[in-house]
């Protein structure tokens, strides 16, 4: 019995060990790179940490994380059943554009207006992703290709739609071009989450939390989630168990896209109120890294998002201090790698430990075991 407790104790210990090891690994490697370019690692890290602790920066980090969180969840949802949705990037940009266009075109009571915009975003994202789903189900085309292609197609499509004679308005004296501004009724105010910070945290952080919870609940607790994970882990067994895989592919692709549709919303409803040329791009790809970093779990992804938010934001201070800010990219890459490597190392350690233990048990229990066979031989 208490041996069991000892086991669990060690298991917990090990599961903590992995992340710690990972962070340590990436800090070391990053430091080496820094030092090689004649920058003092210690100083650099302290600068980053201190900067991150300023209320203003903390807010920025959280805001960045909120956006990343949606992106990573979208990717993770696909990964949970072995679908690789590289198309989150295209999905959220198209969704944001159309949502912005609709939001800027109508006047509605607050809740309805916001609701409508979010709905449009989710639907557009979902449908756009469903295209990949359909092509996979009915034409057997790998979603990897389709989503890659759709990303580029999206870019062209947006360029086509984002012109003065279509969805956009050209503000006089501006070289930017964007959709008409969303009126106040369609905006989501910020929250003073971080004490004494001039900036506010995106109001949609609440939505992020909700989506995160739903993600966990659907995947871990619902029948649908069970089927989804089953398909991801052993498709043939899932089919035999009555899962309609084609339908699952379509639905999960659509859901993944629907979540992707939300990626642009904090920015759109909380900051820019318009989709314009300088609307943030490429978040979908960051999302992939974060999803993998967070091992496709709601919590892990949240931590990953904050980590990436922190690194991205701190690149600014590095630039100011004359430290090459590209170091941040390197760190991000290294972290993603070292996390998985750390987990693998811990896994192996666990096996070795187990083997030793078995060995010990035997040397003690050997005597009693051996007697029976002899009897049989006689």
């Amino acid at each position: 019995m208490n041996k069991l407790n000892a086991d669990t104790a060690r298991r917990i210990g090990l599961s903590v060990a992995a992340p710690v090891l990972a962070v340590a690994l990436s800090v070391v490697i990053t430091s080496i790179v820094l030092a090689s370019a004649g920058n003092d690692p210690v100083e650099t890290f302290t600068q980053m940490i201190e900067y991150a602790q300023e209320p203003r920066t903390t807010t920025l980090i959280i805001n960045a994380a909120v956006t990343y969180y949606f992106a990573a969840l979208a990717v993770a949802f696909g990964f949970r059943m072995n679908l690789f949705n590289i198309g989150v990037d295209g999905q959220y940009r198209l969704a944001a554009l159309l949502a912005a266009a609709v939001g800027g075109a109508v006047e509605l009571p607050k809740v309805l207006h916001v609701g409508l915009i979010l709905l449009v975003a989710v639907i557009v994202g979902g449908l756009w992703a469903a295209v990949a789903g359909l092509l996979k189900v009915y034409r057997g085309i790998s979603e990897v290709i389709t989503t890659i292609m759709l990303n580029s197609i999206t870019t062209a499509l947006i360029a086509y739609l984002l012109t003065a004679d279509k969805l956009a308005v050209q503000v006089e004296g501006s070289n930017n071009i964007g959709t008409p501004e969303i009126p106040a009724s369609g905006r989501v105010g910020g929250i003073d989450l971080v004490p004494d910070s001039k900036l506010q945290v995106y109001g949609l952080i609440v939505l992020a939390a909700i989506v995160g919870f739903l993600y966990w609940f659907v995947i871990e607790r619902s029948r649908f989630g069970f089927d989804l994970r089953a398909t991801g882990r052993n498709e043939e067994a899932a089919v035999a168990s009555g899962v309609n895989v084609k339908r699952m592919v379509l639905i999960s692709m659509a859901i993944s896209g629907g979540i992707a549709g939300l990626v642009g919303m904090p920015q759109l409803l909380g900051a820019s109120y318009t989709y314009s040329l300088d609307f943030p791009a490429g978040i979908g790809f960051t999302g992939i890294a974060i999803a993998l970093l967070g091992r496709n779990t709601a919590i892990g992804v949240a931590i990953g998002a904050l980590l990436f938010g922190f690194l991205d934001t701190s690149s600014q201070i590095l630039d100011l201090e004359g430290v090459p800010k590209e170091i941040v990219l390197i760190t991000q890459g290294v972290i993603v790698l070292s996390v998985v490597i750390a987990y693998e190392l811990v896994r192996r350690y666990r096996i070795v430990a187990q083997q030793r233990e078995v060995g010990r048990q035997l040397s003690s229990a050997a005597g009693s075991e051996d007697s029976k066979p002899q009897g049989a031989q006689a």
């Binding site: 607790r221 882990r233 089919v239 035999a240 009555g242 078995v358 049989a376 031989q377």
Partner: protein, 513 residues
């Protein structure tokens, strides 16, 4: 039992005090084995006794934690299979080791390729001739240029053996080679073995079919719980004695008690057709299974059994005919709906279709019953309910496991199978499809599974039984149907037919009575 020292001369293989540990288990503990040249040496033991592990050690796939390997009197250390191959040891694995997407030729020559272009190119021509030679020599003919995925199990088995012979092996390890073969194929294999033996090769032969063992082996070594417990002389020892050595239990034989067949049809298939790219996988299949009846489906693997099962399960949509379950036409139903209507399914390949290996037992219990109490309530998974019921299965069906939270992959084959059987029996099904329910399962577990089938049948369950083990098929079935090239070609009476007759019916050789 005969004393070790009788057989003279230098043993071709001598394993002394082999111990091999895996996380959580000691697969082998102080195992000893001597194989004389020009003999067939059988190794028998329960599932998980450590037979395959021992052989993998001999084949250099892993190093023993303790003990020595001696080949032809010379003690050796085998770092990898190449070392073993170089010393003339060859192994046919329990699970086929063939790459589907490569041709037979490519599979055979892999690692020992004939060269051309001055050692740079792969000489397919030379390989073809060599393979044909071997084929003739030992009666193991296969077309070198087909993709392995298009081969039936018999042919795959042959390819595996050719692979070994191609490398000029002198010691031949066969790990359960007959598990998937029909009698005729088994005989063919044994003939080949005799030829090999005559040429002075040593053969280590693993099987759970003890009659087989006694008919082909010159010596027998019995392994129990990872260690050698006895050697036996096949001429004198009886299957029962062997079984007792292995498990200390009686050797069960599948015998149906008095018939429980009712006149209530549960499953009816009428003129079912299944066509793929113009080829008929199933042609005009018509059969009926009544409540309390076990219908045995005999056939050489790859003659449409899988397709038939998948049609009943709704995993394939039939191109003609109707399927009725308890008077309801289910032809167009989804797999899930059919399962809900009361079809249980023990799949042929438990790892592919039966289990999620990297999921805990209780999740595997939910699999296939996602929509039913006690696993789920409404759209949600009812963890408590599912876990409780898993405990029940583990108890009732004697699944040997530390807990229901371990991954399915950590269970031994037999126990995995028992879990599946228990799962498919729960939620009292109307129809049970049992494909090779005892394949690779040791005698103990076998008996248990047979009893389960009998009891369920007695309670009015209709069973479609598919098995390559003809004794099992004949012993359990109330009626037998033979399937050949997607057609039901013969009805035979299990009470009168012999395995040999059945086998020839299956191969289309001669019609059985």
């Amino acid at each position: 039992m005969k004393p070790e020292s009788e057989s003279a001369g230098v043993p071709a293989v001598e394993l002394k005090g082999i111990t091999k540990r895996f996380p959580g288990v000691v697969a082998n503990r102080d195992v000893n084995l001597r194989v004389m040249p020009g003999t067939v040496h059988a190794v028998v033991g329960e599932n998980g006794a450590g037979k395959s592990t021992l052989m993998k050690t001999l084949y250099g796939m892993h190093k023993p934690d303790e003990g020595t390997i001696t080949l032809n009197g010379e003690q050796v250390v085998l770092h990898n299979p190449s070392d073993a191959i170089a010393r003339g040891v060859g192994m046919v694995h329990q699970h086929f080791m063939l790459a589907d997407n490569l041709t037979v030729l490519e599979n055979i020559v892999l690692g020992a390729e004939p060269k051309r272009w001055g050692g740079f190119g792969l000489n397919r021509a030379a390989a073809r001739t060599r393979i044909r030679e071997i084929g003739k020599q030992y009666g193991l003919e296969v077309d070198p240029d087909v993709l392995v995925e298009n081969l039936g199990v018999g042919d795959r088995q042959r390819v595996e053996i050719i692979k070994v012979l191609y490398r000029g092996a002198r010691v031949l390890v066969l790990d359960e080679p007959t598990a998937v073969l029909v009698p005729q194929e088994v005989d063919a294999l044994f003939e080949a073995l005799q030829v090999l033996k005559a040429q002075g090769l040593s053969i280590i032969f693993i099987s759970h079919k003890l009659d087989e063992v006694r008919s082909v082996a010159d010596d027998i070594t019995v392994i129990r719980r990872g260690t050698t417990v006895a050697t036996a002389d096949p001429k004198t020892v009886s299957s029962r004695q062997l079984a007792e050595l292995m498990v200390g239990s009686e050797l069960p034989s599948p015998q149906t008690s008095e018939s429980t067949v009712t006149d209530r049809p549960v499953l009816e298939m009428k003129h079912v057709e299944l066509v793929k790219d113009g080829r008929h996988l199933l042609r005009d299949v018509t059969l009926t299974i009544h409540a309390g009846e076990v219908l045995g489906l005999a056939g050489v693997e790859g003659n449409g059994q899988a397709e038939l099962v998948e049609s009943i399960m709704g995993m394939r949509t039939v191109d003609g005919g109707t399927i009725t379950l308890a008077a309801e036409n289910i032809t167009t139903w989804t797999t899930r709906r059919r399962r809900e209507a009361g079809i249980g399914y023990i799949p042929e390949d438990r790892h592919r279709h039966g289990l999620i290996l990297d999921a805990p037992l209780w999740e595997n219990r939910v699999l296939g019953h996602q929509t039913r109490h006690p696993n789920t309530s409404g759209p949600l998974v009812n963890r408590a309910g599912a876990r409780a019921d898993t405990e029940r299965i583990v108890g009732e069906y004697d699944v040997r496991t530390p807990s229901i939270d371990v991954l399915a992959s950590s269970l031994s084959g037999g126990n995995q199978q028992k879990l599946i059987v228990g799962r498919e029996m729960s939620g009292n099904p109307k129809l049970l499809i049992a494909a090779h329910p005892t394949r690779g399962v040791d005698v103990g577990a076998q008996a248990a599974i047979w009893d389960l089938l009998r009891n369920a049948r007695a309670e009015g369950l209709a069973v479609l039984l598919i098995s390559a083990d003809l004794d099992e098929l004949i012993g359990l079935s109330d009626s037998l149907t033979v399937i050949l090239r997607g057609e039901l070609v013969a009805q035979v009476d299990p009470s009168t037919v012999t395995p040999e007759q059945l086998g020839s019916a299956m191969t289309g050789a001669g019609e059985a009575a």
